[in-house]
């Protein structure tokens, strides 16, 4: 168990493409660190550099105070779980899990007891003599985990280990991974493109975009204080709504109407000059059906009328969609997010559509004119040009 430190690490491929740029990351001993970002953001490359499967072009990588830039993967004492599991098909489950121990020259009794122990933790005892081809996806995934934990390595590296499982199993395995990690207390770096996994699993989450680390922090920090448009748009589901706005004193002109800032939002807007054009970010849950809001909190926000395009009822809550005018926010970061989500090509998907998360008791119907309430203390302000969160200014 040890700390993993990336110090100004850069990965440049022979064709000049920089997959990871000047990355500084400090993973504490025993910490569960998530690397998250859209595909192609360099998160897997960063993980593979820690594993030693990719050379480091510049910078320094330390695992437990030892610089490991030039050390072969086998001598780094780390275990990795691959996205496709990479089980050895010609070996049984037992042999698969025993393989790292055998290579390390462990005695037969030690191998047996450790494999048994790992199999017990992962509930694989009755499958030990089967081959990977005869296992289900979830079982294969557990074998891959087992191969990693038998050795008691300094760190676990996991490269999207759950992405090949179906949705239900993924949720199950998510808690399983979390349970195993906290039980073993091993430093873990976990790569995923799924922000839900990132939010639920990690002690801390590092968001990456185009090879550059955007923000590192606890899930709550990322959610409540995103450093820029990208992080704000990436974390949270459904995503944060963005719209252009103009600030005028403590009033912000939004497409749906003027809102007087209260609470945290007025603090966040403190650094913004009056009359400045900004991008305002509003989380879906900052809206509410005006009829559902009690009188004492009603003052904290503003109500406005709009026509509801679509209502999605999920049982515990409702998502309602409505359009706002002159709403398009031009931003490289948001465009990239939309591309990654696959919505960039859907006509009108991002054009001024706002999603609000309402209580399930709300009676708002599709196509109806409705009155919504907006919590004006929950607005986020971003610079139009740089996408920076203006609260940090």
């Amino acid at each position: 168990m040890s700390e993993i430190v990336l110090d100004q690490v850069t990965k440049r491929f022979p064709d000049g493409y920089e997959a990871v740029r000047d990355m500084d990351l400090d993973v504490q001993d025993g910490e569960f660190m998530i690397l998250v970002g859209p595909s192609g953001c360099g998160k897997s490359t960063a993980l593979r550099m820690i594993a030693g499967l990719e050379d480091i072009t510049e910078g320094e990588l330390r695992i437990g105070d030892q610089v490991v830039n030039q050390i072969a993967p086998k001598d780094r004492d780390i275990a990795m779980v691959f996205q496709n599991y990479a089980l050895y098909p010609h070996m049984t489950v037992r042999e698969n899990m025993a393989f790292p121990l055998k290579l390390a020259g462990a005695s037969k009794e030690e191998i047996d007891s450790k494999v048994q122990e790992a199999a017990r933790i992962l509930d694989l005892e009755q499958h030990l003599d089967r081959r990977p081809a005869n296992l289900s996806g979830g079982q294969r995934q557990r074998v891959a985990m087992g191969r990693a934990i038998v050795r008691d390595p300094k760190a676990f590296l996991m490269d999207e280990p759950l992405s090949n499982l179906d949705a239900k199993l993924r949720v199950q395995m998510r808690t399983e991974v979390s349970r195993i990690q906290s039980r073993l207390g091993t430093t873990t770096v976990y790569v995923t493109h799924d922000q839900t996994e990132a939010m639920t699993l990690g002690d801390r989450v590092a968001v990456m975009r185009s090879g550059v680390l955007q923000q590192v922090g606890s899930p709550a920090e990322l959610y409540d204080d995103p450093k820029n448009l990208f992080v704000a748009g990436f974390i949270g589901s459904p995503a944060m709504n963005f719209m252009p706005a103009k600030l005028d004193g403590d009033t912000v002109h939004l497409p749906m109407g003027d809102v007087r800032l209260t609470g945290e939002a007025s603090e966040r807007a403190a650094g913004v000059q009056s009359g400045q054009s900004v991008v305002v970010g509003i989380r879906p849950e900052s809206f509410e059906d005006a009829g559902m809001v009690s009188a004492d909190v009603r003052d904290r926000g503003t109500t406005f009328k709009t026509t509801i395009d679509l209502v999605e009822s999920l049982g515990a809550e409702k998502y309602v969609y409505f359009q706002i005018e002159e709403s398009q926010v031009e931003s490289e970061e948001l465009r990239e997010l939309a591309e990654d989500a696959g919505t960039a090509d859907v006509p009108g998907a991002t054009e001024g559509q706002v999603v609000a998360r309402l209580e399930s008791a709300s009676r708002i119907d599709r196509g109806a004119d409705a009155e919504l309430w907006l919590d004006s203390s929950k607005l986020h302000f971003f610079d139009l040009e740089s996408g920076r969160n203006l609260a940090d200014a």
């Binding site: 993967p73 780390i78 990479a86 790292p100 081809a133």
Partner: protein, 267 residues
């Protein structure tokens, strides 16, 4: 079915020939007139023991030369193919292209120079004298076959082995080689058959039973008298030399199971 008949007809015909007596061998019928079958053609081949039989020594030569050449070709090709499939090094495509060019090279055009060279450096009529040219032509074949198989093996497996603590050679031996077994057997069969069937090099680069292989030895068979053709004997010998090939293929066919890598990675 029709294809099967078409392919097997010559084989059945040669078996029939090998069982005919000198009197009926030329009658052009599938079943000899009078129903006269004989095993004499086979017996003659083995008469006289190791020194005097026209067949036993060449058969041993054939087996030894083909086995040695196959073993060397597969070991060398395994390393070469692995390097080509996995590593990036300058001249990689030249090596592969060169290998292909050599495999395509007409063997007949190398015969003359080889004959002269082998005579002057003492390789003429020896095992190495045949094994070396066989390697020249079969190694590219083996490399090509193996490269295709190695490329099929998920690279992740090897990386997993490295992270699990294996040296590159351990990863190759314990993970890649077992998975490439079907490809290795395929390549081995191809190389073996090539060496086993060769007539051109065998007839040119040998002069005695010291190194002469069966296909060449067949040409030196003589009849009972100078007026009889050794047709029956040749047919019998041909049947015998076909048997090892059939056994070889049937035996290794079980190993060539597609889907050996199933379950390795989700894909």
């Amino acid at each position: 079915m029709l294809v099967l008949i078409f392919a097997l007809l010559p084989v059945v015909w040669i078996i029939s020939l090998s069982l005919k007596t000198p009197k009926t061998v030329g009658d052009g019928r599938f079943l000899p007139a009078g129903g006269e079958w004989t095993l004499k053609n086979y017996k003659v081949l083995f008469e006289g023991g190791f020194d005097n039989s026209p067949f036993i020594h060449p058969l041993i030569n054939s087996i030894a030369i083909a086995v040695i050449a196959t073993a060397i070709a597969i070991v060398l090709a395994a390393f070469a193919a692995y390097a080509i499939a996995r590593l990036n090094f300058p001249g990689k495509s030249i090596i592969l292209g060169g290998a292909l060019a050599i495999a395509m090279f007409p063997a007949i055009s190398t015969i003359g120079p080889l004959f002269d060279m082998w005579r002057s450096i003492g390789l003429y009529d020896t095992y190495p004298g045949l094994i070396i040219p066989y390697l020249t032509f079969s190694l590219p074949l083996a490399i090509y076959t193996l490269v295709a198989f190695y490329r099929e093996i998920p690279w992740d497996l090897e990386q997993a082995a490295k992270v699990d603590g294996a040296t590159p050679f351990q990863a190759f031996r314990k993970v890649i080689l077992p998975l490439a077994a079907p490809g290795t057997f395929t390549a081995a069969i191809l190389v073996f058959i090539f060496c086993w069937n060769d007539f051109l090099f065998a007839i040119t680069l040998t002069s005695s039973n010291d190194a002469r292989t069966v296909p060449a030895a067949l040409a030196f068979f003589t009849g009972e008298s100078q007026f009889t053709q050794p047709t029956g004997n040749i047919a019998a010998a041909a049947v015998i030399v076909t048997i090892p090939i059939i056994i070889f293929v049937l035996f290794f066919q079980r190993r060539i199971v597609a889907g050996l890598t199933a379950g390795a990675v989700k894909g």
